[in-house]
Symmetry: C2
Subunit: 533 residues, 2 copies
């Protein structure tokens, strides 16, 4: 759903905005703008395309840009690296927005070895911080998500996940600097005290804490962010638990829950489907070789592929860190906890922490040590051919086996008519899990691509009926997602709108992001929230 | 600093407000109000006294009260148990406020064993939840601060600390229900979805996160709060590290930092001064027996008392949890990390997790297992005689030995002229520590009491000059504390004021809390912030 922006407004703003960053850092030709389109939207879709992309290099330029945008009343959308793929990539909710590309703001401003923290600008990628830590000889590990090309700041603000002890990136943010929509510069936590010595050390200041306001938010542009790192462990074990049967999944989840709750397993494990593991394995058969009938791969084929490739029907990876004695004691507890599952296999790769960078070659061993890669890109081509895409449906449920059963039954039922492959993955933490269903299609296959986008709102609504909320969505789905948060006559939406009006009264910043619209765009006919109001 | 409230406003509101809760739950006689005074303010002080205390029992009553207060434009102050001692107890910033006492809202609404969470009302004390978990046979441990009579909600909202793995209470909040100043009811996180199944399991919902706004805040009244618990461990070790010399402190801090950063030590250890330990020991000599000269106890006396009682000059407690193998492996790592300190002693008490409730008798072993007590009250009488009080000065510094040295040198220098005893304690987490200096006096000794309140603003300002911010203060000191957060021309204050105006436009709720004033009280002559603006 996009909202027309008056082209004359954009045109009038153009000269001013380009002057801020310089013509070499502004792109408005249609061909140049193509690379800032959502790469996975159906190729016949013109929604969510920017009118102009500008790339500031400094905080002062960002301040000037928001002031100009307010004067011209032009909507602005920000991305840090724009790798928010499956959720819209760099694309704004409102087509015709001026998009701020923050890739040039890519300085690593501080790494503190004592306290294992970093302060970075939004353009810093997981690759960049990793390389920097290695180059400078810091014995610190950063956390990375499945693909390492994204922005550390952007990922944490969108509540993305990684797989070290600091995998819940949004909760490891420590201190932000923010350009507010009126151009004021704010620092949160102890950074609000000039020359504070503990900005990245303690997550709060004095009085209310504001970091949460700027996550999945249209209230400010984060220009610096602190993040916690982990010290390189003496010993690192990248583990796996493979279970043979489809119905082993809830048993496995319930078996490992106590280990996550008590910190035996310290990172965020992920559970992957046999086909997904196959899709990124060297030498595995292709999707077409496995099954060329209609619809998704049937269960008996999945089981035979798993057996053939030596995989579990479900494959959980996890990591243990510590000195060798602690790691071995942890592992024995993991082994004991799952030993009742018939046919279970517990796998391990163990490294000295200092050697992992040179020795770890598997994606699991790498990502659980925070080593970024792009290996998982292979899955897209495997499922849908070169240039394949996906749309992610991601609900948070309690960490219980029966929650996974309910979500998967719902997905099986609702996806049946679409003909799409979909891959259920679960990212576990102590009390909840994120159930990510990747819906695969090729953007050029407009029937399949539209089928994915068409079913997604229904999935969101049906999950709500089962008691489950989404944690993140594609820009196309933000209104319907926000609509589900309906307690007390949508009190949350009303608060978000009040905050929006107070902090961004002109309503220039990321209108529609996460379903929060500025006052002038809040008419019933453009706010799909009408359906539940 | 208090601001006069028009007595006729309060009088007009009285009848309406009393009608909401019933006359038996309203107190306005001066004698009854005495128990809602700050117990440690100088006894000759009349600041910060409420005009009326009312005790609602339901969310609906709270909603009605805020609506009435807005109509009458009467300032409201809320406490949950009012045990915020050393920071003002139940007392409001603005004398003459109507105080909401939430002690009657004391239901434990949910305990979830699978995911180790609880949902409680604000009147639930640490004692209450502990007793409930025991009575119901839940093998779950809650976290408690030094004194167990406080409110779980109130303590977490004020960023209080405890000593289990969930000792940083403010960061273990998971989901809030809040009465906003206009009477609207909000649920945060996944609770914003009616019938969500994961409200206490996942700390965020969809879009911006709001929990932080309601910590140390005047933006709403928290009526329900989720909190994380820990599963009872198989094995629990309450440990101690005693070091003999004053100058061992920075060495000790730097030695344990890696253990905190990598999770070998999982809880928040505390480091106590020999005299403080003596003050709560059975059979220890009295303060007067130790030293009856002028000013605080001299160093050579401290050392001899420590030796006589078998204490370290500094005494750190810490806890290890897990199965026995993991706990022993952790302990060996702790022992190795401090073995270079001459004369160091590592102490341990080890329990089966299930036995600790019956067997642990020391305050350290109890509090690190979340067993609440009031044992530490003894310190107040020991230092200043029966009915003794204290004022706490609490700065956050990086977790570094040299930070402690700098803070203590500052304290020694600035406290010298006051003649007051003061006790430096440190609560450690991975990257920072809270340095709590308890300034002791008897409220009836008005010279000493005023000396404490007089030096406190200077301590706050001087700490800022050294790069350290306070995390919490007495109501009397909120303006000066907020003044120190000066980055970018007090951008934080400006944001807080904008949020205040948007969410509490009439300005009824807790005016002046943490230095945030509603618009009509923001005149330069009543906002001491003028000093740095």
């Amino acid at each position: 759903m996009s909202i027309a922006v008056d082209p004359s407004d954009v045109a009038a703003a153009l000269t001013d905005l380009i002057a801020v960053v310089g013509v070499e850092h502004a792109q408005h030709e249609p061909t140049a703008l193509t690379s800032f389109r959502d790469p996975f939207s159906p190729t016949d879709s013109n929604d969510h395309r920017p009118a102009l992309v500008i790339s500031p290099a400094t905080v002062e330029e960002v301040q000037e840009i928001v002031r100009l945008a307010a004067r011209h009343r032009v909507p602005i959308w920000t991305f840090s690296q724009g790798r928010n793929n499956a959720y819209g990539g760099p694309a704004p909710v409102v087509g015709g927005s001026v998009v701020l590309n923050l890739r040039r703001m890519n300085r690593i401003l501080d790494v503190n070895t004592d306290r294992a923290t970093a302060l970075v600008e939004p353009g810093v990628r997981f690759f960049d911080l990793y390389d920097h830590l290695r180059a400078e000889g810091h014995r610190l590990w950063s956390s990375a998500p499945d693909l390492g090309w994204g922005s550390i700041v952007g990922n944490a603000l969108e509540c993305g996940v990684g797989y070290t002890v600091h995998g819940d990136h949004a909760s490891r943010i420590c201190g932000m600097e923010i350009v507010l929509p009126d151009g004021e510069l704010l620092r949160t936590g102890l950074g609000a005290m000039t020359a504070s010595s503990a900005w990245q050390a303690h997550p709060r200041g004095y009085g209310p804490s504001h970091d949460g306001l700027f996550k999945q938010s249209s209230l400010g542009i984060v220009s610096k962010m602190g993040i916690w790192l982990m010290p390189e462990p003496e010993c690192y074990l990248s583990g796996g638990i493979a279970v043979p049967r489809k119905e082993d999944l809830p048993v496995l989840i319930d078996a490992v829950r106590p280990l996550l709750l008590d910190g035996t397993i310290q990172n965020q494990p992920a559970i992957g489907h046999a086909l997904f593991i196959a899709s990124v394995m060297d030498g595995a058969p292709s999707r077409a070789e496995i099954y060329d009938g209609p619809g998704p791969v049937p269960e008996h084929v999945i089981e035979s592929v798993a057996e053939q490739l030596g995989l579990g029907r479900w494959n959980m990876r996890f990591a243990l860190y510590g000195n060798e004695a602690i790691v071995r004691a942890r592992l024995r507890r993991v082994q004991a906890a799952v030993s009742h599952i018939a046919g279970v296999r517990v796998l391990e790769e163990t490294y000295a922490g200092s050697e992992v960078h040179d020795r770890a070659t598997s994606q699991n061993a790498q990502v659980q040590a925070g080593i970024p890669s792009l290996d998982l890109m292979k899955a897209l081509d495997w499922y849908s051919g070169e240039g394949g895409g996906h749309l992610d449906f991601s609900v948070v449920t309690p960490l219980r086996g029966d929650s996974a059963t309910v979500v998967h039954a719902m997905m099986d039922r609702m996806m049946a008519g679409t003909g799409l492959d979909w891959d259920p993955a679960m990212i576990l933490s102590g009390r909840c899990m994120i159930n990510v269903a990747q819906l695969y299609f090729h953007p050029d296959d407009v029937v399949a691509a539209h089928a994915a986008f068409a079913i997604a709102p229904d999935l969101i609504r049906e999950a709500r009926r089962l008691g489950f909320g989404v944690y993140r969505t594609h820009v196309e789905l933000m209104d319907v997602a926000a609509d589900q948060f309906d307690f007390a006559d949508h009190a949350l939406r009303k608060l978000n709108e009040r905050l929006k009006d107070a902090i961004d009264p002109v309503g220039i910043l990321a209108p529609g992001k996460q379903g929060v619209w500025p006052a002038h765009l809040r008419q019933a006919d453009v706010t799909p929230g009408a359906e539940t109001r």
